[in-house]
């Protein structure tokens, strides 16, 4: 790219992997490409080469174990299992035997032979369709790199050369790379590769730094030292912001930080409007270690505990034992506050590749979430069993994702009852009255909310998917992404309808999508009568402040007025005007970028 082009500000959209906003100089993270040319050995060198190879294997094994131990501390046990598969790969018997054989017979150096073998494995795995195989291929690459570095005697301490705090921009970051980053110097992360469910995405969350992955070509767009802004909430990255924009972002961030610090003292206070309307303010989490942030920021519980990580980090079926351990961990950390555990919300192809699955043309409208769980009943039973075990003297609830019809709720309840009977027979204690709720994210569910409300114990409105399904927009599709509008009157009407149905059936209605944490939407949502807002932990203080500073009567008025408009833009502008007037000192528009 010609130097003149690099001066321009460029915006790109990727996958919002880890929340928060980071501003800073770019650090281009590159990995040395090791030249691995075949080296011919003399007869007398064969023996020592074999010794050298075995030693390198040992060193690599120790290295991976060290990384794993570090990961356990940083991310917890389950996520650290990402490295267990690395150890298995390293111990692959064929890798060992074939290399030994070829050293002896072909008299070639170990580094060349290892590279040859691993590259073949990598290519075969990458050639298979599916995220699962792609992830396994990346695992092979990570291990191969370590081993070859050790064979070449090059120390890879993963230090990356990062000297000052910066935003790391890379083509890809392997799990090993991420675990070994000096967190104090990492302001944020932006990568070309890495889908939403990749190990990269999961591990950047565990670092608690803003991260955006899947940007495709951000490494082409940056050059070292240039400033970059990454928004881990929206997935937007701004390369080389103009001086004006940069100043704006920095100011916003400064105010946000100062503001959040001032809000620390609100931690123990209830989320209540000035005229006494109580709203439960809880948080969304994806990994157990995020519970810390929830507690620090004064969350009143977890409104959405996503359980997919159990699958994604192991590429294997999560055992009941593991699930019990993880759910218990979260429930205990927050006790006696409630934890809402959502059953697996995965596309069939993520659950695992060894399942017979035709490539879906339209996965968004396909086999995922509750559909997979009900078809693979054992999956659901095991998850229910684990949740029930944990429910004994602990405050946990069950949430079903992507419900689109009443049948699904009925079937799930039936399975839940059967699992309860099973546990009764085994004389295992559990909470018989455990609440079973349903996510309202499919328009059909919102429209039959009255019927659903009769047969479940609470609702949780998933605005992200609700917007996509209602407006027929794929947020990840650059051609139509601008059509995604959470404040579209149609969406607001569905939310209202859902809340009213909940009211009539006397069940609580929560909202857990991104919108719940948007300060712009707070008064609107409270005014519509939502009982609970489940937000990203870092948004807890701001949302609490807004609610504590307002009157429910005003919030209701705001909600009413918002309904007078017929386009999303008009609604947004109205809310912006209103919020600016009512809350002049809040960085209200900060995260709307």
């Amino acid at each position: 790219m010609p130097a003149s082009d690099r001066k321009h500000e460029v915006s790109v959209i990727g996958v919002a992997a880890s929340p928060g906003i980071a501003i800073g100089p770019t650090f281009l993270f590159t990995k040395n490409h090791l030249e691995v040319a075949p080296r011919k050995l003399t007869d007398s060198q064969v023996k020592s080469e074999i010794k050298h190879f075995k030693k390198a294997l040992d060193e690599t094994r120790q290295g991976i174990k060290r990384t794993r131990a570090r990961a356990v501390k940083q991310t917890g046990d389950i996520v650290a299992r990402i490295f267990d598969s690395h150890l298995l790969i390293l111990d692959d018997v064929v890798l060992l035997n074939e290399t030994l054989e070829r050293i002896e017979q072909e008299k070639l150096s170990a580094d060349y032979l290892v590279n040859d073998f691993m590259l073949r494995m990598y290519r075969s795995l990458k050639a298979q369709k599916g995220e699962y195989f792609s992830q396994r291929a990346d695992d092979v690459l990570d291990v191969a790199r370590r081993l070859i570095y050790n064979l070449k005697g090059v120390k890879d301490d993963f230090s990356s050369g990062l000297k000052k705090p910066a935003v790391i921009v890379a083509n890809d970051l392997s799990p090993s790379d991420i675990i070994h980053l000096d967190r104090r110097k990492v302001l944020g992360i932006a990568t070309d590769l890495g889908g939403a469910t990749s190990h990269t995405a999961i591990l950047t969350r565990s670092l608690s730094v803003p991260a955006v992955t899947g940007l495709k070509n951000v490494t082409d767009l940056v050059c070292a030292g240039q400033d970059i802004v990454i928004n881990g909430n929206s997935g937007k990255v701004v390369v080389n912001p103009t001086p004006t924009h940069l100043k704006q972002y920095i100011n916003k961030r400064k105010r946000f930080k100062a503001f959040t610090t001032r809000l620390q003292k609100l931690r123990g206070l209830p989320t209540e409007t000035r005229d006494g309307r109580r709203v439960r303010l809880v948080a969304n989490i994806e990994l157990p270690i995020e519970v810390e942030a929830v507690i620090n920021q004064g969350g009143e519980g977890v409104g959405l505990f996503r359980t997919e990580y159990l699958f994604l980090t192991q590429g294997s079926l999560p055992t009941e034992k593991d699930q019990v351990k993880e759910y218990r961990r979260v429930a205990d950390a927050l006790a006696p506050k409630p934890v809402v555990i959502r059953t697996y919300d995965l596309g069939g192809d993520k659950v695992m590749p060894s399942l017979e699955m035709p490539k879906e043309n339209n996965p968004f409208l396909g086999w995922r979430a509750i559909r997979v769980s009900l078809d693979l009943e054992d999956l659901l039973r095991t998850q229910f069993r684990a949740i029930l075990r944990v429910s004994h003297q602990r405050n946990v609830r069950i949430l079903l994702p992507l419900v689109s019809c009443l049948d699904e709720v009925r079937r799930a309840r039936k399975i839940l009852r059967e699992v309860m009977d099973e546990l009764d027979e085994k004389q295992v204690s559990f909470n018989r009255e455990i609440m079973l709720g349903v996510m309202i994210e499919v328009p059909s569910a919102a429209l039959i909310a009255d019927e659903l409300a009769k047969e479940c114990d609470f609702f949780s409105i998933g605005t992200n998917d609700l917007v996509q399904y209602t407006l027929a927009v794929d947020r990840g599709n650059e051609n139509v992404a601008s059509l995604y509008k959470a404040y579209h009157p149609a969406v607001l009407r569905l939310i209202k309808h859902t809340v009213e149905a909940g009211r009539r059936a006397n069940i609580p209605v929560a909202v857990c999508g991104e919108m719940a944490g948007e300060p712009l939407a707070t008064l609107l949502l409270v005014g519509l009568g939502l009982d609970e807002l489940s937000v990203s932990p870092m948004m807890l203080p701001e949302v609490k402040k807004i609610i504590r500073s307002s009157q429910y009567a005003i919030a209701q008025e705001v909600a009413q007025k918002a309904f007078k408009y017929s386009t999303a833009t008009e609604v947004e502008n109205y809310l912006l005007r209103t919020m600016k007037k009512l809350f002049a000192d809040l960085p209200v528009w900060f995260t709307r970028d």
Binding site: L95, M121, M352, S354, E356, L376
Partner: protein, 88 residues
């Protein structure tokens, strides 16, 4: 040399855990193990190879064992498959 066909019985097929169990058994024996599925033939002692197979429930795999302890190895693996890899 013994060659035998097996049907994968467990619901979630040969995902990472059962795959590693199978490879572990095979590693105890001198005999060679080759696994074929849909024409793809891989070395059954290689975890990377078995990962590539990802055999689903109901699929057929052909096991070829050859060498010292071939019968015993096949027997052990057969039991593992029959017991659905201890998953149900």
């Amino acid at each position: 040399m013994i060659k035998k066909e097996y049907k994968i019985l467990n619901k979630f097929g040969l995902h990472a855990r059962p795959a590693s169990q199978l490879v572990k058994i095979a590693s105890h024996y001198k005999a060679e193990l080759w696994i074929t599925k849909n024409g793809q033939r891989i070395n059954g002692k290689s975890i990377m190879g078995v990962m590539m197979l990802a055999a689903e429930q109901g699929s057929t795999i052909i096991l070829e064992v050859d060498g010292d302890g071939e019968a015993e190895m096949l027997q052990e693996i057969e039991e593992l498959i029959h017991n659905k890899f201890g998953e149900e």
